[in-house]
Every structure is written in structure tokens, then in C-alpha cells.
Amino acid sequence: MENLLKIENLSKSFTLHNLGKHIKASQDINIDLKEGKFIGITGKSGSGKSTILKCIYRTYLPETGDIYYNSEKLGKVNISKISERKMVYLRKYEIGYVSQFLNVMPRTTAREIVKQAVLEMGYDDEHANKEAIKMLSHFELDKELWDSYPNTFSGGEKLRLNIARAMVKHPRLLLLDEPTASLDYDSKKKVKELIEQLKNEGTTMIGIFHDIEFMEGLCDEKFNMQAGKFI
């Protein structure tokens, strides 16, 4: 099977000029991710897990090493060196990122948030609305919440909205940063079911979990991080 993603010797550190500090976040990371597979990453707080996902999404500028991604439209690209414009394209159409925190435009309803993700791919309003409704029901967000503002949502509701927004684009690669953090047991179970569903639909994923035991049976491969490295 083809590699969808291949990370070779990725390292990332931060130089905080004003504080005169240099922080090594992730070092010598190697990952082989085949299509349709699911990799789980765990490790202590501050060990460098999010940094890896953010480098793949180019929120962080990778420092050394290569991140090869096999794009449907662009062919094999190296995300470490890709142009900004191409990365904008990949974010719009191929790579999804679900952060632990929902950051969206204020005063935008749940439905609008999901719709906008479809609209930005160039579909019309009607199609966007249809897809948004499909996703919101699929992820079991209460109908009453669809047209209200997410700042009043519970952690689990926010998370499901977050996932709906990413999933409505049907990304080929989905990056999940602690999708179960701060959820109660039932909500966690829901998220697990959801990931299983995505996997069955063929979505390739990398997920970060501080309680990875909970994902037992789902991960095709697991990595444990300590002080910036896989151990």
C-alpha cells in the first residue's frame, strides 16, 4: 500500500529571541503512514506531540527534516518546503486539523461554521447547507444547537462541532489533537466510535491521546513520546 505521509528526521525547536531561550520541541521524528491507517501518539505534557501535528499542518515551520505527503491533486510534495499557496490548497481540500480548542469567528452559528468549510471549497449555499446538516446530525449535535453560538456549548459539543467542521470536507488526512481531552466517559466513547467510523470510511488519521489505552484496538501503530523523541 502507498504511503500517504512519510516523515523523515523531522526536528523542530523554538528560538524565543526576547527571552533569549531555545526550546527543543520535537527531535528526529520518523513516521510512515499508509493510506487508511491510524497512528496514535501519546506522551507527557510538553513532550512535543502537538508540535508534530502542527508541523504537518504548517502552523509551525518545520526546521529540519522532510514531510512527504502524497497529494491527490499535487502529487508527492514536501510540506517542509512547499509554497504557502500550495499549503493553503491542501488545507482547503485534503488535510484536516482538529485542535483541542475550537477557535471560530465570534457570532457565527454552529451551522454557519460547518457551512463555511464547504463554501470555501467552492460549492454553493444549498449544497453547503445540505452537507452541514448531514454532518451535524451524523455527529449527533442536538438540533437545537445548530443555529446557536458555540461559545455556550459544552466541551463535548464543541468538540463534535470541531470534528464536523473538519470532516465535512472529507479530508484524506485528518490530524486530531487530543480529541478526547476533558471529556466525560460517555463523550469519550462517542468520539472513539466516531474515529472508528472515519477509519471504516477510509480516512487516514494521526491522533494524540494522553489516555491512549482508551483507543485500544483502533490504532494500527502507537508512539510514545518523551522529551521530544519517540521512545
Binding site: F14, L16, H17, N18, K54, R58, T59, Y60, L61, K73, L74, S83, E84, R85, K86, M87, V88, Y89, M105, P106, R107, T108, Q116, L119, E120
Partner: protein
């Protein structure tokens, strides 16, 4: 994909100086111009070799401290000020083969009226306060060659509706409008000739938060529905985060850093950008 990567606007080495320069600053060497003026002769270099591109349908963010040259750059692009040096190309104008800065004043007027729209921070600069709201739009339509009154009225009302100005107020003078409404009339006016490129200089500065959100929603909607490319200058990083895919950072008239907006905000590379992000977040 090819068109996705084709710039709609390309700016090369734009320079704008106020003053004639002297022997010391002529060569523009780094050590002389680590500020934006020459200590010897006092010439101000408001923009120094600014180069960037804007792609089809994208919003490019521009940030930087006060005096860094953001407005000067926008004024040069709209021919409010004449550049000292440099060139710029617009793909919708003469196939992107002509340096717009070198065009005749007649052609520049044509570009202003047909290819560009601009929204000023201060509505007084963008609107005639004693014309009616719809009159302001008609003025721009006339400038781009329209003559049919009923056609212009229809278009004017359509635009005002698009920016949520109620129809029954379209004959009022904008001086009676609130700040947010004035900005929305400016946006309607700028959009009237369907320009492929919109220049927005601090359009939400000075508006209270809920009005700001309203104007931002409108800008987002315009970009989505009409696919217009925009340059958005703002010192408010929240505005930039919300609107821009890519962002450039200016300091002393130069672009010192550029990248995807979230990368500029979360992983800024240059000491100055780090300081800017931390001071403004």
C-alpha cells in the same frame, strides 16, 4: 491548480521616499537604513523594496507597527501617491504585461475605476458626506462609464442591500450614518464596478466590537461569494487571523517576514515579529 498559483497582483521592489536622498542613503545599505529615514538628510523611505504577490480569490494580510509603511504601500497601489521606484502587474489588466506604475494618468484612472476598489480607514476620505449613500455609488459608476440612471439606481440599491443598508435610507447622506454603516457604504461603493482586487486599510479600526464583527462578516462574505482578492491592512491581529490566508509583516518600510497567517501568529521567526505578536495578542 495552475490558476490557483497564478498571482492576480504582483508587486516588485516598490519604493516610496519622501525627500531627495543624499550620498549616504542613496545605496540604501542596511546600516544606514535600519530606520525608515536617513539620519544625514532626513529623507523618509516609507516603503523600501517591497515585493509580494496576491493570488486569485485570496485575502492577504498586512501587519506592522504604526509608521511601518502599510498605508503608503496601499496608497501607491491605488495611485494616491506616486511610487519612487518599482513595478506592479495586474493579471486582469493588459494580461498582466504592463507595469501599472508606468501607465499614463488616464490609464491609471481607468485602473482605479475598473480594476481596483479601496476602502479607507477614515470614511471621509472614501465618501462624499453630502452626497446621498446611493449618490456615492452612482458617482463611482459614472466614473467607470455608466450613464443609464435607472440602471445605476438598480445597481446602487442592490449593493446597499448586499451590505445591509436598508433601502429607505439609501437617499440619506452618510454623514448621518453610524461608523459601521459608513464603512459598509464605502464597501458597497468600492464593489460597485466589480473590481477583481479590493484594498482595505484598517477598515474596522475605531468601530466598536459588535459593529466590527458585522463588517468582518461582510468582508468574508464578499470574498466567498464574489471571489474578490483583497489586501487587508490591520494592526488588529484578531482581524488578520479571521480574514487572511497569508500574511506579510512590515517594519521600517520593509517586509521582514511572510507566511501562512496562523504560522506568523503561532511560530513567528523574526525577533520583531515575536515581539509584535506578543504585544498585540
Amino acid at each position: 491548480m495552475e490558476s490557483f498559483e497564478k498571482p492576480i497582483l504582483k508587486v516588485n521592489n516598490l519604493r516610496k521616499q519622501f525627500g531627495n536622498g543624499c550620498k549616504k542613503c542613496e545605496d540604501m545599505s542596511e546600516d544606514v537604513l535600519d530606520k525608515n529615514y536617513c539620519p544625514e538628510c532626513g529623507t523618509v523611505y516609507a516603503c523600501q523594496d517591497v515585493s509580494f504577490e496576491v493570488y486569485n480569490g485570496e485575502i492577504l494580510g498586512v501587519v506592522g507597527e504604526s509608521g511601518s509603511g502599510k498605508s503608503t504601500m496601499m496608497q501607491c497601489l491605488y495611485f494616491d501617491k506616486e511610487v519612487t521606484k518599482g513595478d506592479a502587474y495586474i493579471s486582469n489588466y493588459k494580461d498582466g504585461k504592463s507595469n501599472i506604475f508606468k501607465e499614463s494618468s488616464q490609464q491609471k484612472r481607468y485602473i482605479r475605476n475598473n480594476v481596483l476598489g479601496k476602502v479607507y480607514q477614515n470614511p471621509i476620505l472614501g465618501l462624499k458626506m453630502d452626497f446621498s449613500a446611493i449618490g456615492n455609488i452612482a458617482e463611482k459608476l459614472i466614473a467607470s462609464g455608466n450613464r443609464k440612471v435607472d440602471e445605476m439606481e438598480r445597481r446602487g440599491n442592490e449593493l446597499l442591500e448586499h451590505v445591509n443598508i436598508p433601502l429607505f435610507r439609501s437617499k440619506e447622506e452618510p454623514k448621518n450614518f453610524s461608523g459601521g454603516m459608513q464603512q459598509r457604504v464605502q464597501i458597497a461603493k468600492a464593489l460597485s464596478n466589480n473590481p477583481p482586487i479590493l484594498l482595505l486599510d484598517e477598515v474596522t479600526t475605531g468601530l466598536d466590537l459588535s459593529v466590527q464583527a458585522n463588517v468582518l462578516d461582510l468582508i468574508k462574505k464578499i470574498q466567498r461569494e464574489l471571489g474578490i482578492s483583497m489586501i487587508v491592512v490591520s494592526h488588529d491581529l484578531a482581524v488578520i487571523r479571521m480574514l487572511a490566508d497569508r500574511t506579510i509583516v512590515m517594519l521600517n518600510g520593509k517586509i521582514i517576514e511572510k507566511g501562512l497567517t496562523d504560522q506568523i501568529l503561532e511560530d513567528p521567526q523574526k525577533p520583531y515579529t515575536q515581539q509584535l505578536v506578543h504585544s498585540l495578542l
